[in-house]
């Protein structure tokens, strides 16, 4: 546990030691804020559905940018060799890195809270979908992070890590989308709809927190963390 905390602290501080974190947060808030308010006064409804609808697509590019350096940089600099000869277990390092990037993402998401507060002030929104949307965003973000972290362990090039993570996330995102499901044979539809990263998010976003959705996101996270332990183990061969 102490090791996980030590690695967590190093990685989390690492985001703020460089200017990346600040650029990242600013850009995220500016983009989501603009996309939200662009239509907010036109539609004239006190709700955040539009915000949560575009969130998966923003995550698609933002989250791989958070995770791309986590392993690739260690490999490039050679620091992996010191890190993995310290008395730490593989899964402790992975969890430390995952939790650090998760916390960073959570901070970024929570900094968008002025949006719902504004809405609360301007009108009387249904609070269920907003709370559900934030919980869903955290769960979905975790899944994107686990994918990105795993992909980062495959290469020492951060750009490649970013692109492959976007590609995999994109694949998992669109297989649950309506226009893809239409073109699929009937027997594949329930499977793809279940596997889609976005479909579970829209469920939670309606304010309905279903244990199946939570289990889905947790399994995706665990699955990619497991793959990550394999790639890390694989370096030794």
């Amino acid at each position: 546990m102490q090791n996980i905390i030590a690695i967590f602290k190093r990685e989390f501080k690492g985001y703020f030691n460089s200017t990346i974190a600040y650029i990242f947060i600013t850009f995220f808030l500016a983009l989501t804020g603009w996309l939200f308010f662009r239509s907010f006064f036109i539609v004239n409804q006190a709700e955040m559905r539009g915000f949560f609808a575009i969130l998966p697509w923003i995550f698609l590019f933002f989250v791989p940018a958070i995770t791309m350096r986590l392993w690739a940089e260690e490999k490039k600099l050679g620091t992996l060799e010191i890190l993995m000869t310290l008395p730490v277990k593989d899964h402790e390092v992975i969890l430390g890195k995952f939790l650090a990037s998760y916390t960073f993402l959570a901070v970024t998401i929570l900094l968008s809270l002025p949006l719902p507060i504004t809405i609360l002030y301007l009108g009387g929104p249904d609070k269920g979908p907003i709370i559900g949307g934030y919980i869903g965003a955290l769960l979905m973000g975790g899944a994107f992070l686990a994918i990105g972290l795993f992909v980062s362990s495959l290469t020492e090039n951060q750009i490649i890590a970013f692109i492959i993570a976007v590609a995999i996330s994109f694949g998992l995102l669109i297989i649950g989308e309506q226009f893809v499901l239409f073109s699929l044979p009937d027997w594949l539809v329930p499977i793809c709809s279940y596997l889609g990263l976005g479909s579970h998010f829209s469920g939670i976003g309606r304010g309905v927190i279903d244990s199946r959705d939570i289990i889905y996101y947790l399994s995706v996270i665990l699955f990619f963390i497991f793959l990550n332990t394999r790639t890390l183990e694989g370096r030794r061969w």
Binding site: I7, L77, G78, T85, L86
Partner: protein
């Protein structure tokens, strides 16, 4: 302390380490010497449990690298090639991070860091960021990282690569200092480095150990032939007929005759006889003036070349 038997490591079809075996006793300073790509780094990575061996066993401090890597990692300090560091961290932050993972209790951490910073000469840069540091300081910081938990065994991969001559001497002194209490393994492709710091040398080439021993043993055994440089004043013909008739000379060759009387020869002995004495008497008997008589023993360089190139 370290026992390696029949260790083999392959990358695809390429055999990086080919069935090597050796033992290292507690308190020894051992140098791995070999050309680039000989398998030194791979061997070290296996000793530190960064890589797993394909065949053979490696036992460090009584633990098998494959079965109990964590126990070994606790007892080893490792300086990888090129001193990799997190450039975005501060020096103090970094040492704190390592100390934390190395399980040094929070109360003692500052003391340990101070002590290690003193030893490695890092006091001036403790407040700086790592990316600002020069190569020499980075090397020292990386060494400090390897020493902070007071390990029994220190593994240093090319500890002086890329340093300037002053820094090289400093680091060597530091290694010698540390080596009084610890078992040290270091690698290098520079011979003078190994002969200056190590009690024992393993010469590795193409994944195999081709020679081992103390630097003196190696330079004595590899070639018994002596080279003698001699400068004489005298008549060329009579000198050469004398040299031809002397026993114990394998070959001789004139290297300089600048018109005058002074002649410079290089003579190779054929083995055991002590030639320099005989040469001295020859000069005295014939009343030739002897201005220089110099013996050259086969240096580590020669042995290294013989072993790593000569065999192909």
């Amino acid at each position: 302390m370290i026992r390696v038997s029949n260790l083999t490591k392959r990358y695809g079809n390429n055999v990086a380490v080919d069935g090597i075996s050796f033992g290292i006793r507690k308190g020894e300073i051992v140098g791995f010497l070999g050309p680039n790509g000989a398998g030194k780094t791979t061997t070290m990575r296996i000793l530190t449990s960064f890589l797993a061996p394909d065949e053979g066993t490696v036992v460090v401090a009584g633990f098998d690298v494959f079965k109990e890597p964590l126990e070994i990692r606790k007892r080893i300090g490792y300086l990888p090639e090129n001193a990799p560091l997190y450039l975005d961290m501060g020096v103090l932050d970094y040492l704190n991070f390592i100390a934390e993972i190395r399980d040094i209790p929070a109360g003692e951490r500052w003391m340990r860091i101070k002590k290690i910073a003193d030893l490695c000469g890092l006091n001036n840069v403790l407040k700086r960021d790592i990316y600002e540091l020069s190569k020499g300081y980075r090397q020292r910081l990386c060494l400090a990282q390897a020493l902070i938990h007071n390990p029994d065994i220190l593994i240093l991969d090319e500890p002086t690569a890329g340093l300037d001559p002053n820094q090289i001497i400093e680091i060597r002194e530091l290694i010698k200092e540390i080596g009084r209490e610890k078992t040290v393994i270091l690698s290098s492709h520079i011979l003078s480095e190994v002969s200056a710091t190590c009690g024992r040398v393993l010469i590795i080439n193409e994944g195999k150990i081709v020679a081992s021993g103390t630097p003196e043993e190696l330079s004595n055994t590899a070639t018994r032939k002596e080279k003698i440089y001699i400068n004489l004043k005298g008549q060329k013909e009579s000198i050469e007929t004398k040299l031809q008739s002397m026993s114990g000379i394998a070959s001789f060759r004139i290297i300089e005759e600048n018109g005058g009387e002074l002649l410079k020869y290089v003579i190779e002995s054929d083995g055991d006889t002590n030639l320099s004495e005989a040469l001295f008497h020859m000069a005295v008997d014939n009343k030739w003036v002897l201005t220089e008589l110099r013996k050259e023993r086969a240096s580590l360089e020669d042995i290294f070349l013989q072993l790593t190139i000569g065999e192909r």
